[in-house]
């Protein structure tokens, strides 16, 4: 918006033109000699306040019906099977994960071809467990895999 239009009524009303960075005046400026520990402390505080302000909606990621979807292992992850377990290394996050046998079985089946419902059926066969129990466990596991960036949903 140019300076000469700043005080004029525009076609896009004011309530649809939010301030881009209202955070600029919200806290005291950083001491330029602040240590990394102090920067980290303040950064954590900023992110916590941001979450509290409702700008994040953790619940929006809830997986209501993942079963028709196809998931594949992220290309950022290298992994190896060890006996019936798996160890995963997320290269982007430099984070390591250890999966028990049920989670490892699920992980191996996330090949980018099978729908989650097919994976569910195969895991049920392997572990001879009630379908309802496995379904809820897999839903939780899938949510965690997505949260950690270990798998991605494949689009057409």
């Amino acid at each position: 918006m140019s300076r000469d239009t700043a005080n004029k009524e525009l076609f896009i009303p004011a309530d649809l033109r939010p301030e881009a960075r209202p955070f600029l005046q919200t806290s005291a400026p950083l001491d330029p000699d602040a240590s990394h520990a102090e920067i980290e402390r303040q950064a954590r505080q900023v992110l916590a306040e941001w979450k509290r302000a409702g700008l994040l909606e953790a619940g929006s990621r809830s997986l209501t019906n993942p079963w028709p979807c196809i998931f594949e292992r992220s290309s950022d992850v290298v992994w190896t099977a060890f006996e019936d377990e798996c160890v995963l290394l997320h290269l982007g996050a430099t984070a390591c994960y250890s999966l028990n046998s049920a989670a490892a079985e699920f992980w191996k089946l996330c090949d980018g071809h099978k729908r989650a419902e097919q994976v569910l059926a195969e895991v049920c066969n392997v572990f001879d467990a009630p379908e309802g129990v496995v379904r809820e466990d897999l839903r939780a596991l899938l949510a965690q895999f997505l949260q950690e960036g270990l798998v991605v949903e494949r689009t057409n």
Partner: protein, 291 residues
Amino acid sequence: MQSGVVLVLGPLSDPVTAYICMRLISRGADFMLVDLRQDRRQFEVNWSISGGCLEGWIRNGSRRVNVEDVRSAYVRQAEPYDVILAMAESLPIDFVNPVSAFASNSSKPFQQAAIQRSGFSVPKTLVTNDPEEARRFWEECGGRVVRKSVSDQMSIVRGVREEDLERLPLLRNGPTQFQEFVAGVETRVHTVGHRVFATEITSGAMDYRYAERERTPRRMRAVSLPDEIAERCLRLSAELGLRLAGIDLRRDPDGRCYCWEANPMPGFTFFENTSGQRIGDAVADLLCGDA
């Protein structure tokens, strides 16, 4: 990790700047955060050209860094860092993003031409301050039109309803961008260097960023893009000179992929937090020379 200092230019009170700092700290990177909300007297910049080479230093508090020791810079905010940016632009460093690349966001026609060259479709668009032209466009599109700010000023995207046409004379006070509404699956793609992170957004809201205003749920999840689309995104970022970009795509029911815009300063934490994608780590990799 390569040696050298990473310059971070932005206020620590900004969540994206705060997150970048945390990612740099977690990998033990040497960085200088210049938060210009501080007393300006604690900050100094000095440079000269000697024998065709740039020499100089930046002092922040008690620390002084020579320009040859700077390996990369992350810019969250162009103003009031102009004096550093003008200098940093000429350094052979990884710049996320060069100030010159920000300019594309202020010129929609320029950006739309680049989008088309990258292989994406662009929705029918009109930028005007002429009420009659706007009305004609609305009628041509059968009333399926959205309105947006024409500058880099943020605006919440809304449809233009019949009752909004009464306000069209206000266009005389400032031009507005109108675009044909395209229904379809919305994807935000972040390109970081040569890496691509795609987040699919499902929301009944016209502008998913503000879904809560419309009391509409929003779901975001990490997805993988077809190779061809990912390549187009990388091509677009490269053409605009962006090492980090937030690209808004929509795939219509016929499979045609539209691109709305490429944001040179994306608030990726909003997406990372809900999709679990490690975008901040990828930016830190880029800044540390580990990408």
